[in-house]
Every structure is written in structure tokens, then in C-alpha cells.
């Protein structure tokens, strides 16, 4: 539902990711953070105020 709402607002699906990681899965957590960081870096910054004026 959150993703549907964000897509209505023009926010790319790739900017939001929901994962459930246990406290014992340190490696997996680090890998997901690395992947996500790289993915968002490729997209570039999201324009402030959706790119609108003001």
C-alpha cells in the first residue's frame, strides 16, 4: 500500500525496499544496504518538492 501511494506521487519503485532481516543476519544486512545504496546512487537525487516550484 505504501508503494502504491509513493508511485502515485511519482517516486520510483527502486527507491523503496522492504526487507525483514534478523539481528543475527549481519552479513545479509550489510549486503542489502550496499545494494540499496548502489541502486539509489544510480537513480540520483530526488528533486526537492517533486521538482515543482516553491
Amino acid at each position: 500500500m505504501l508503494k502504491k501511494l509513493l508511485s502515485q506521487l511519482g517516486i520510483e519503485d527502486e527507491r523503496v525496499r522492504l526487507e525483514w532481516v534478523s539481528a543475527s543476519e549481519g552479513d545479509r544486512f550489510a549486503a542489502i544496504v550496499d545494494e540499496m545504496t548502489e541502486q539509489v546512487r544510480k537513480l540520483g537525487p530526488f528533486p526537492r518538492n517533486g521538482g515543482g516550484n516553491g
Partner: protein
Amino acid sequence: MAKLKVALYWAASCGGCEIAQLAIGEKILKLAEAADIVFWPVAIDVKYKDVEAMPDKSIDACLFNGAIRNSEQEHMAKMLREKSKVMIAFGSCAYEGCIPGLANMFNRQLIFERAYITTESTDNKDKVLPQTSYQAPEGELTLPEFYDTVKSLRQTVDVDYVVPGCPPEERTTWLALEALIQGKLPPKGTVITHNAKAVCDDCPRKRDVKKVKKFYRTFEIVPDPEICLLEQGLLCAGIATRGGCGAPCPQANMPCTGCYGPVEGVVDQGAHFLSAVASVIDSNDPEEIQRIVDDIHDPVGTFYRYSLPDSLLRRARIK
């Protein structure tokens, strides 16, 4: 005691706030005893140039309703701010953008195309769109500039108080006017209502289970008159909405749509409402959850019906 000077103005609004101001009934006579109305386009003939000629801070209070979506409204908001000691955002549009603020799902180009070209009832073969200036044989004609993004009054000028609601309930309007007349206004920044807690606090319906397997639109079911509407699968915003209205909508079997804005301390009403809705879904199965939330057809229009310009995102990104 000298009479107060009060101004009332409208910007991007529907006229409902003027009706709400008159809904205080005979109490308007008490207002008239205590205050001179120096500007009120809906009722008295005072021109913009007359307001311009008033000294700075000569108006004691301005009740401003409506959002800001064009240059005329922005100009008037700034001018009335300069002329007024106290600026009151009256109603949801001035407070948080309200229904006109849903135009932030689009931009000027898309809105003009729809309104002036593609609407089924429109005949505009030459695709004429509003211009800010036009040279007519008789001289130049001008229109205000239409903005891409709707802003609230609070995002445009410094606002001292908020009277929430779409439109404000009579009791809320009078609470603010009485404080003004008696010179007992609360601290700057106060959202003036009888109850800073959620609408649920005013609502007599019973809450118990909080488990929902299916969401309904209002025309799909006749709800039980005594049980919480959200628990019956209606998207009632009461839980994420400031009270003080007295909960008239849930008492008339209609879910709260959120017009009094966020509860005290919450920045983003839509996110709060969405989180509350997510917490009542009775399932741990991702596919079933997906089916349940698929019944919510327009999340932005549901969760941010009154508060999109005032939300964290403020508008949609148009590619």
C-alpha cells in the same frame, strides 16, 4: 474600548468557509458589537486599493481562508500579513492546502490541458489557454499567474493561529472569535479547537476487536451504528485527525475524512493514517494482505485528502 478591526479574505477555496463564518448565527451580532469589518469581499465592497492604503498593522486580525495557487492570492496574502497584527489561517485550505491541494498530483500544463482542452464539454479548437497578459484593442488585459504547485497560507506567510476544518464547525469558529473578542488568544502557533486529541476521543462508537479482512467504500455497506467504523472496514480517518469537531460525521454513519488535520505533534497526517490502517489488517499472509489493500483505490486521495501540500512530500513528481 475601541472596536477591533477585522478583515476576512478568500483565496483558492470553495466558499464553504464564508458559510461556516455565517453559521455562528446570532453570535455574529456579538462580533459586530466588538469589531468593525474592514474588508470582506463576499459581503462588503472594499477594493484592493483601499486595503493597500491602510497603514501596516492597522488590522487587528485577518481571517484568511483558501490555499495559494496563483499570483493574486500570494500578493493578497502578503499584503494582508503586512496590514494585520494577527493572521489566522481559517479552514483546511489555508492550514494545509485541502482539496485544492490535490492539484499537486498534476502541474499547470496538465491542469490547463484538462480544464481548457480535453474536458468532454469543452469546445476549444484553437487550444486557447489563459494568458497573463493580452493586448485587446481597448488596452492590455491581465490575469494572475497560475502556479504549478498549490501552497497553504502557512507556506506563504507567517501565520499566528489556525482554525481547522473543511469547513470549521460552528463551535470551533466561535471558540476562535470569542478568544479574539475577549483578547484572550492562546500562544502563537496554536491550532484552535476544543480537543487536541483525535476525533475518536469525541466519537461515541465502541472499539474492541480492530481486525479487518476487507475494506469497503461508503456506498458498499450500511455500517452498524454503534461499532467503530474503521473496525467495520470503512477508511475512517478519525484516529489520525485532530478532534474538537464533535465527531459529527461518524455519528451520521459516515467515516471521518480527516478535515481537522493531524493530531497534535504529528507532522504528516497521511503517513499517520496509513500506519493506523495497516495496523488493523487481520492477516499475516502477504498475498491476502495485498488483496485487502487493493481495495484502497486511491491512497493519496484517501490518506492526504486535505493535507497533500502540507505533507512531507508536498506534491507528486511529474516526469
